[in-house]
C-alpha cells in the first residue's frame, strides 16, 4: 500500500465518496472519516460532523457516530485526511500553485479543537441548528454551489415543471449564502500560500481523528532514535511540521512523505 502514490489514493477517495454511477447516498448509515458533505448530489454516505450536530440539536447523544469515528481514529488516526479526504485533496492541489509558503504558528493547530467544541458541540443544541454546517467550506463547494447551479440551469433551460422546487431554492439565496461562498474563496486562496490551512486550524473532524493519532493501530511513524534510519524529511511536509517530535501529533496527517528524501527539484 505504501508504494501507491498519495495522489492516486486521493483521486480514489474523491471517486469513492462521490461515486456518480451508484447513485446518491448508497451508504447513508455510515458516517465516513472525511469531510464530505452529505447534501452533495453525488455523496455516498453521511458526514460525521453533520450527524453529530443533528443528534445534539434533537437532544440526543450520537453514540453510534462517535463509536464509528473512534473506530476509524483507532485504526489509522488522520491517515484519511492525507489519503482520502476530497477537501484536503483540493487544498493539496492548490498548494502546488506556488512554492513560496507562509509559516503559521504552532498554537493555531489547536484552533480546530476550539472549532470542534464551540461550533459542533456547544452551539448546535443552543441555537437548534447545525452551526458548523452553516460555515462549512466543504458544504459550500460540494453542496451549495452544485445545488444552486443545478437549480439555476433548471429554471433557465429546462421545461417548466409545476412540481419542481428549483424556484424555491433560488429564492432562498440570501446574504448568508454569499458569505459562505466568500469564506470558501478565502480558505482556497489561503491554501495557495499556506499548506492545508483548513485541515490544520479549523477542521473539527481532523481534531477528532487527531486525538489518538499517536497510538493508532496502523501508519504510526517509528520513534525518534539517534540512528539515521529514523530520520524524517520534513521540508515537504504538507502540514508544515518542522519538529520531528511533532510527527504523529494531532497536526500530522500521516501522509508518510517525510519517510522519503525530497526530490532535488524541490
Amino acid at each position: 500500500l505504501g508504494k501507491i502514490k498519495r495522489i492516486w489514493w486521493q483521486i480514489s477517495g474523491l471517486i469513492l465518496f462521490n461515486f456518480p454511477f451508484i447513485g446518491q447516498l448508497t451508504l447513508p448509515w455510515l458516517p465516513v472519516p472525511v469531510l464530505n458533505c452529505y447534501s452533495c448530489p453525488l455523496a455516498l454516505s453521511a458526514c460525521p460532523i453533520g450527524t453529530i450536530q443533528h443528534f445534539l440539536v434533537i437532544g440526543a447523544i450520537p453514540i453510534f457516530t462517535v463509536g464509528i469515528i473512534l473506530l476509524f481514529s483507532t485504526i489509522a488516526g488522520r491517515f484519511y485526511c492525507s489519503h482520502l479526504c476530497p477537501f484536503g485533496f483540493l487544498q493539496d492541489l492548490l498548494a502546488r500553485i506556488t512554492r513560496h509558503k507562509v509559516r503559521i504558528p504552532n498554537f493555531l493547530g489547536y484552533g480546530k479543537y476550539a472549532v470542534l467544541i464551540i461550533t459542533v458541540i456547544l452551539l448546535p443544541p443552543l441555537l437548534k441548528e447545525p452551526f458548523f454546517c452553516t460555515l462549512c467550506p466543504a458544504g459550500s463547494i460540494e453542496a451549495g454551489i452544485p445545488i444552486v447551479l443545478q437549480a439555476w440551469f433548471k429554471e433557465h433551460f429546462a421545461e417548466p415543471n409545476l412540481f419542481s422546487n428549483v424556484g424555491g431554492i433560488l429564492s432562498m439565496i440570501g446574504w448568508w449564502f454569499w458569505f459562505k461562498i466568500a469564506l470558501l474563496v478565502a480558505i482556497l486562496i489561503t491554501a495557495v500560500f499556506i499548506k492545508r490551512p483548513f485541515c490544520r486550524t479549523a477542521c473539527p473532524l481532523g481534531a477528532l481523528l487527531g486525538i489518538f493519532n499517536r497510538i493508532s493501530l496502523f501508519f504510526t511513524h517509528p520513534g525518534i532514535k539517534s540512528d539515521k534510519r529514523n530520520r524524517y524529511y520534513l521540508r515537504t511536509c504538507p502540514v508544515g511540521i518542522t519538529n520531528p517530535r511533532d510527527v504523529d501529533s494531532h497536526n500530522c496527517i500521516k501522509c508518510r512523505e517525510c519517510h522519503h528524501p525530497p526530490d532535488k527539484k524541490n
Binding site: P28, W29, S39, I63, S140, V148, I173, F177
Partner: protein, 49 residues
C-alpha cells in the same frame, strides 16, 4: 504500571470502546435517525439559512 505504558493496551481499550459504542448505538436504534438525517437536504450546508 508497565501495562499503562504499553501502546497495545490503549489500542485494545479504544477498539473495545468503539465497538461497544457502535453496538450500543445500533441497539438504541440510532441508525434510522442517521439515515433519515443523511437523506434530508441540509439547507445549512448549502448556505440557505
Amino acid at each position: 504500571m508497565a501495562l499503562l505504558k504499553n501502546k497495545l493496551f490503549y489500542q485494545i481499550l479504544l477498539l473495545a470502546l468503539s465497538v461497544s459504542l457502535i453496538i450500543t448505538g445500533v441497539m438504541m436504534k440510532e441508525m434510522p435517525e442517521v439515515i433519515s438525517n443523511a437523506k434530508t437536504l441540509c439547507f445549512w450546508c448549502i448556505g440557505l439559512k
